[in-house]
């Protein structure tokens, strides 16, 4: 394999992650009025990923190209729509799809590959952002990666599904693989690998912060680099399922960050710029300090039974015959002090 192309592949992966991150920060994608990701959504996606190649294998190569052409065209449209408006986004989406198809009819394989790669890049940036901005959680990405890892192992190493599918779409327009070279052994990454490579850094950034996002991106590029290096030195020769390495690392990162923070940052907090904070686990949740302090404040001698005390800053601020009146008196004296009410 061409070593320069292998190096370029890792660079392209890094550039795609960077492009998706820039889009993530600057562009807000529309989402439906109601709906968050649930386990059933991941199950649905996983079933789709497993079943789709089997269906494609029963179709002709041209039909598969048509299906992917449609999917990529739509993906490019909804990726560009928030940037330039829904109607205007149709123009580049249709133009890019039409040009790619025209090159295919003109038998210009390099041009077809370049156009398809460009369409794929935009589509992957869009889909990854759609999922990340729609609230897909790290646990969902980890579960999806785990399922795909298992599937990839079976489909690539134990059966011929991936190989047959790759052979079917190789060299065709809109092929679901980012390819830098052609031929029998192209330097390429499959669409599924690419999607998780780009998706997890976005989701990790949103849920666990910038450091987690950078680590996820580094891990993704590193895995791509290591696999490329193994191809370059001849340790690997046939198609290698990238997710068998990347998937477990995504799961591991998710577990590490979840363990560290005890939870994750919500989208609303990420948009507000709220830093990620470790959340105490249920068993570690301590009583509020002001409540404990209020219990420790000594009751003044001679206080009639039934007196309500408004306690704040470790002292009795006011008293009253009812909680409301004690609070009112305390509020007049120290309006900013949080008050706890206690009766004797």
């Amino acid at each position: 394999m061409n070593p320069f192309a292998l190096v370029a592949l890792s660079a392209c992966a890094a550039a795609m992650i960077g492009a998706a991150a820039a889009y993530f920060v600057r562009v807000r994608m529309p989402r439906p009025p109601v709906g968050v990701y649930a386990a059933s959504d991941i199950a649905f996606l996983s079933v789709g990923v497993v079943v789709a190649p089997l269906l494609y294998l029963s179709l002709s190569g041209a039909a598969v190209s048509a299906v992917f052409g449609l999917v990529l065209g739509l993906a490019v449209q909804f990726t560009l729509a928030p940037v330039c408006g829904g109607r205007w986004a149709w123009a580049p989406a249709l133009a890019a799809t039409a040009v790619t198809a025209a090159f295919a009819f003109a038998d210009r394989p390099v041009a077809v590959r370049v156009c398809t790669d460009l369409l794929l890049v935009v589509a992957v940036v869009g889909v990854a952002n759609l999922w990340a901005q729609s609230g897909m959680r790290p646990v969902h990405v980890a579960a999806f990666a785990a399922v795909l890892t298992g599937y990839d192992l079976v489909a690539t190493t134990l059966t011929r599904v991936t190989l047959d599918f790759a052979t079917q779409v190789q060299g065709r327009p809109f092929a679901p693989m980012f390819a830098l070279t052609g031929g029998d052994r192209p330097v390429a990454i499959g669409l599924g690998d690419l999607l998780l490579l780009v998706l997890f850094p976005l989701v990790a950034t949103r849920a666990f912060g910038r450091r987690a996002g950078l680590l996820a991106a580094s891990v993704g590029v590193g895995v791509t680099g290591v696999v490329s290096a193994l191809f370059a030195v001849g340790a690997l020769t046939a198609g290698f399922p990238l997710l068998t390495l990347l998937g477990p690392l995504i799961v591991a990162q998710h577990l590490v960050w979840t363990r560290r923070y005890g939870g994750e940052r919500r989208t609303v907090d990420w948009r507000a710029g709220t830093p990620v904070r470790a959340r105490p686990r249920d068993e570690q949740a301590l009583p509020a300090a002001e409540l404990t302090a209020a219990l420790a404040v000594p009751v003044p001698d001679g206080s009639p039974e039934g007196t309500w005390f408004a306690v704040g800053e470790g002292r009795v601020l006011a008293t009253g015959p009812t909680p409301g009146q004690a609070r009112r008196a305390a509020g007049r004296q120290a309006p900013e002090v949080p008050v706890v009410i206690r009766m004797v």
């Binding site: 009025p33 059933s40 649905f44 609230g135 609303v268 009639p304 039934g306 008293t319 015959p321 609070r327």
Partner: protein, 492 residues
């Protein structure tokens, strides 16, 4: 995502085909809305298209809307005739065919008076339904009206209330809602408690206890983890709110003593002056909406232009002259006559139900943001005879509740008639009150109220009998905030 979409699809199909709604679908939509708000802080695009929100009608072509109305009316009438004794008999006697009804011929269906439902609620209960809860109105105008609801209707109504609490009221988990309505009003109480807690907010049932106790609870700190320091939302009837305002103003309370962010009023006419005084006393905006036990889940929402916009999703609205039952003319006062649709309702079925609530139709076609929904004025009052349309409750309350010398809730009564002259009797704090009387007379004249005179009383025993208000439904407790002998002090 896919599950929510599927639930929305199933819900939409049930509505289009007038088939039974699966409460689980609405519950799923409501639950996912709450999860969406927790994740994103706000709903996504087009949230006005969610069930019960105001945007659906705006998206529908008028011709399609007409078809949907016709189909809904026919389905509702068909169910009512087939399964309820009252409409089975009425339609049989008149030879009406429910399958031949449209928006025009629907006017041939006789209006159902409130008295018919009150006298025999079971005649309106569908033989195909499983009644689960008898919801009673408060009955301030006489005997309470009983309306039976099935379990599925309750689930549907609660899910719609949850959506409304999250989107309309803006309720969030940090909030605490206090319900100061009558504890025997089971349905609104159930709806308020369920919807608030499903949103993640906390809920406190006050009941209509001594207003001094309620005021104290509003001021008391909560000290709960993850919650605002004090109660943030209050729901009350207008007269009970008036009692709270009276105590707050006269008891030296300030808005800063409370943590209220929103006050919702329902069940009675809320006058403009009372709304303003409540906002000043509690430092929170006051809003009102229109819902009634008999016609749930139909309701109406006010708009900034002063209209009351009635949802056309859950029922059919007519505004009729209360004497002739003809369609009220633009600018005229009429009574709300409502038909709640099947499949939202399946237990107590009502066709052209005379609610007794008076409104005025707009003079011209509204151009406000909710113009796609049928518009009326705010509720003017309750129909008790021709005088109630000439001098509706709202016009009198707008006049007298602006005066601090009139104790709240305002007690008044109209005597006489328009031929011999109408006298307005008002309870005031003390007499003589020449200045107050002069102001009231001037303002009544300016407002064009056809009053022959105003009589002030400082003793309720001298006042002719007044109509009861919801604040009179006092619930007793063993607490007392008035007789306490513990002094208030500070700085220990």
């Amino acid at each position: 995502m896919f599950g929510t979409a599927l639930s929305q699809l199933r819900y939409g199909m049930a509505i289009l085909r007038n088939r039974r709604i699966r409460p689980q679908d609405l519950e799923r939509i409501a639950r996912d809305l709450v999860a969406t708000l927790a994740e994103f802080g706000e709903p996504g695009a087009d949230s006005a298209l969610l069930p019960g929100q105001s945007g659906q009608a705006a998206q529908i072509d008028p011709e399609v809307r007409g078809t949907v109305t016709r189909r809904s009316l026919r389905a509702t009438a068909r169910s009512a005739v087939r399964h309820t004794a009252y409409y089975h008999r009425i339609f049989g006697e008149l030879g009406l065919d429910p399958d031949g009804l449209d928006a025009e011929s629907y006017a041939r269906v006789p209006v159902t008076p409130k008295k018919a439902l009150r006298s025999m609620p079971t005649a309106f209960v569908s033989s195909a339904a499983v009644p689960a809860l008898m919801a009673l109105t408060t009955g301030t105008s006489g005997a309470p009206t009983a309306v039976w609801y099935s379990r599925a209707e309750l689930d549907t109504t609660i899910a719609l209330s949850t959506i409304s609490a999250a989107l309309g009221l803006g309720l969030r988990p940090r909030h605490t809602l206090a319900y100061a309505g009558c504890s025997r009003a089971t349905l609104p109480l159930l709806n308020a408690a369920e919807s608030a807690t499903r949103v993640g907010a906390s809920f406190v049932q006050f009941g209509t206890v001594d207003p001094a106790i309620a005021l104290d609870r509003l001021a008391a700190p909560l000290g709960l983890p993850g919650k605002a320091p004090q109660i943030t939302h209050l729901t009350a009837s207008a007269s009970y709110l008036a009692a709270l305002v009276e105590l707050a103003e006269r008891g030296g309370w300030r808005a800063a003593d409370f943590g209220l962010e929103s006050i919702g009023v329902g069940g009675e006419v809320l006058s403009e002056p009372l709304s303003r005084r409540a906002e000043a006393a509690f430092g929170a905006p006051v809003s009102t909406s229109y819902l009634m036990t008999e016609t749930l889940p139909s309701g109406a929402t006010p708009c900034p232009a002063g209209h009351l916009h009635h949802t056309s999703e859950f029922g059919h609205l007519e505004v009729l002259d209360p004497l002739t039952w003809e369609q009220a003319a633009p600018g005229a006062i009429g009574m709300i006559v409502h038909t709640p649709y099947v499949p939202y309702r399946e237990c107590t079925l009502l066709l052209r139900y005379a609610t007794g609530d008076l409104v005025r139709l707009p003079d011209s076609v509204p151009s406000c943001e909710l113009a796609h929904m049928p518009a009326t004025s705010a509720i003017l009052g309750r129909w008790t005879g021709p005088l109630s349309a000439v001098l509706p409750t709202r016009s009198v309350l707008d006049l007298i509740e602006a005066e601090p010398e009139v104790p709240l809730p305002a007690r008044y009564v109209l005597t006489g008639d328009t031929d011999s002259g109408v006298l307005l009797h008002v309870l005031v704090r003390s007499l003589p009150a020449a200045g107050l009387l002069g102001r009231l007379e001037d303002r009544a004249t300016a407002a064009g109220l056809p009053l022959a005179g105003i009589v002030l009383h400082d003793d309720r025993a001298d006042l002719p009998p007044t109509a009861p208000v919801r604040a009179d439904l006092r619930e007793h407790t063993f607490e007392s905030v008035r007789a306490a002998d513990i002094p208030t002090g500070s700085g220990i």
